[in-house]
Amino acid sequence: MSNNTEFTLAELMIVAASEAWRGDGEVLASGIGVIPRLGASLAKLTYAPELLMTDSECFLVEEPIPLGPRGDHVPKYSGYMSFERVFECVWGGRRHAMIGPTQIDRFGQTNLSVVGDYRKPRAAILGVRGLPGNSINHINSFFVPNHSKRVFVEGEVDMVSGVGFNPARWEPGMRQDFMSIRRIVTDLCVMDFEGPDHAIRVRSLHPGVSFDEVQDKTGFPLLKAADMGETPHPTAAQLDIIRRLDPHDLRGAQVKGNPPGIRVPV
């Protein structure tokens, strides 16, 4: 483990994730999982105080809650967001969620149900959960801690749980315009859907990662954004906020080996 870096890959990904909510306005920011939640919290505490957030249960908070045991910290609640209210929010489109699907395809379709044959799957995961409804109603972003062809599959995902930009799946008369897929944050790069016909582009590469490496680990062809550069490094102020939000360093367990943010090419 290098000891001459000042931030970890997880912290770089948290900062990259936080950028996903830029410009969304007053929506419910749902970061599902440690890194997306820290990303949403960081966004709210820096450039997007207008975001709504919950305590990851059923109460709204204006001050994002630190992860894990809280010691003396007593959350201050500003409102209520039961699961029933979440569905009302989702169907009204005022939400941007970042989730970690098991598989993602070139159309942005996602799978959280099963890997392999549907009737007798190789692996049963969680079930489609809220992906069908989330994906067709509001903005979504994805988080992938293990960028690989197992996640970014060739062809379609094994079970289309969340909708995407696949024309073959849409019938005339269905409203596709409430769907919006914003960003994919992985352990190698940040991608978006801003290529021709919503093709996936690499927006930025994490330090020490090459485009070829990303392409080799992706099951479909990728485009390069015209201004593709390096993913911005966390600032000292951002790192302070992240450390305050995650006092037990749960983020350190989110990427295998908790590598430094600046990797030396092999």
Partner: protein, 291 residues
């Protein structure tokens, strides 16, 4: 009017092939004392309608489930429900896998006695492709939009665990999130509740009465079941039992694991179950999870 019953009397109302809805959400406030009574019974071929947690997993493990109508099965802190996973991967279940929102929408339709409710959820996914009984409908108005017509999910029986009930069937759900138990109750021909505490008649302040989420005319029977949600949570009173979950998860990886779990925890009855889990003193004071 006195609706008090035992778990055995509730399960005696169940018939093979029934469609049964369960309250709660994943590993939260599941009617587990009644689930354990079902596990001890001969009832089989059930269609289970649930936001799945160990209720789904244990009924799958025991071979009670013919069909599952669900959006997920999980123990949350342990993401993959071990017995759901094992039985699902064996290809042994009929399935109607639904978006979480569609699931409650179908119950709502049943409770309102309409054949369907429109939604966009499920369109353009494999949910509709794999369930050809889910039909679309075109808006009769100028927009002409094509929507999914989520069919009513009618239940024969609803099983719900609550914090407080009385002998008339009045109930209070006092945790932060009441989930969708009111819709489960409304969708069913008969709803049976288990409760941490049972009184003869509730006499509440307005603030307390707001925790009543469905009417007593829906409730056919009330069971006094302290720690009846264990090993799931029952906020604000107790959290899930991680040690028990780990033991349960391990059973799915052992030869004869389910039979061993049954022998140790279920077959000897609820009093023995409480003894095996440290008694209600321990079970009722397990800390609530912090996220």
């Amino acid at each position: 009017m006195n609706k008090l019953m035992t778990t055995a009397e509730v399960v005696a109302q169940l018939r093979d092939g029934m469609t049964i809805g369960f309250g709660g959400w994943g590993p939260r406030r599941k009617p587990m004392a009644i689930v354990r009574e079902i596990l001890r019974s001969d009832v089989k071929d059930l269609t289970v309608v649930s936001y799945g947690g160990p209720d789904v997993g244990m009924l799958c493990a025991a071979g009670k489930v013919k069909k599952l109508i669900f959006g997920f099965a999980t123990l949350d802190a342990i993401p993959l429900e071990p017995w759901y996973r094992k039985v699902r991967e064996a290809g042994a279940l009929e399935l109607m896998e639904l978006d979480e929102g569609m699931w409650q929408w179908g119950l709502r339709a049943a409770g309102m006695r309409v054949p369907f409710l429109p939604t966009r959820c499920g369109l353009a996914t494999d949910v509709t492709k794999l369930n050809p009984e889910l039909k679309t409908i075109q808006s009769p108005y100028a927009d002409g939009e094509v929507l999914l017509a989520m069919p009513a999910l009618k239940l024969d029986v609803a099983l719900v665990h609550v914090n407080v009930a009385d002998s008339l069937g009045n109930t209070l759900i006092q945790g932060g999130d009441p989930y969708f138990d009111h819709l489960v109750a409304r969708a069913a021909d008969a709803c049976y509740v288990s409760a941490e505490r049972v009184e003869e008649r509730l006499a509440l302040t307005p603030d307390q009465a707001r925790f009543n989420t469905f009417e007593r005319y829906l409730v056919k029977g009330v069971v006094h079941a302290p720690c009846g949600a264990h090993p799931t949570t029952c906020a604000p009173e107790y959290g899930w039992d991680m040690a028990h979950f780990k033991r349960y998860v391990a059973s799915a990886a052992e030869d004869g694991g389910w039979q061993a779990y049954m022998d140790e925890f279920v077959t000897p009855g609820e009093a023995a179950y409480q003894g095996k889990n440290g008694g209600i003193e321990r079970m009722g004071t397990l800390p609530l999870p912090v996220f």
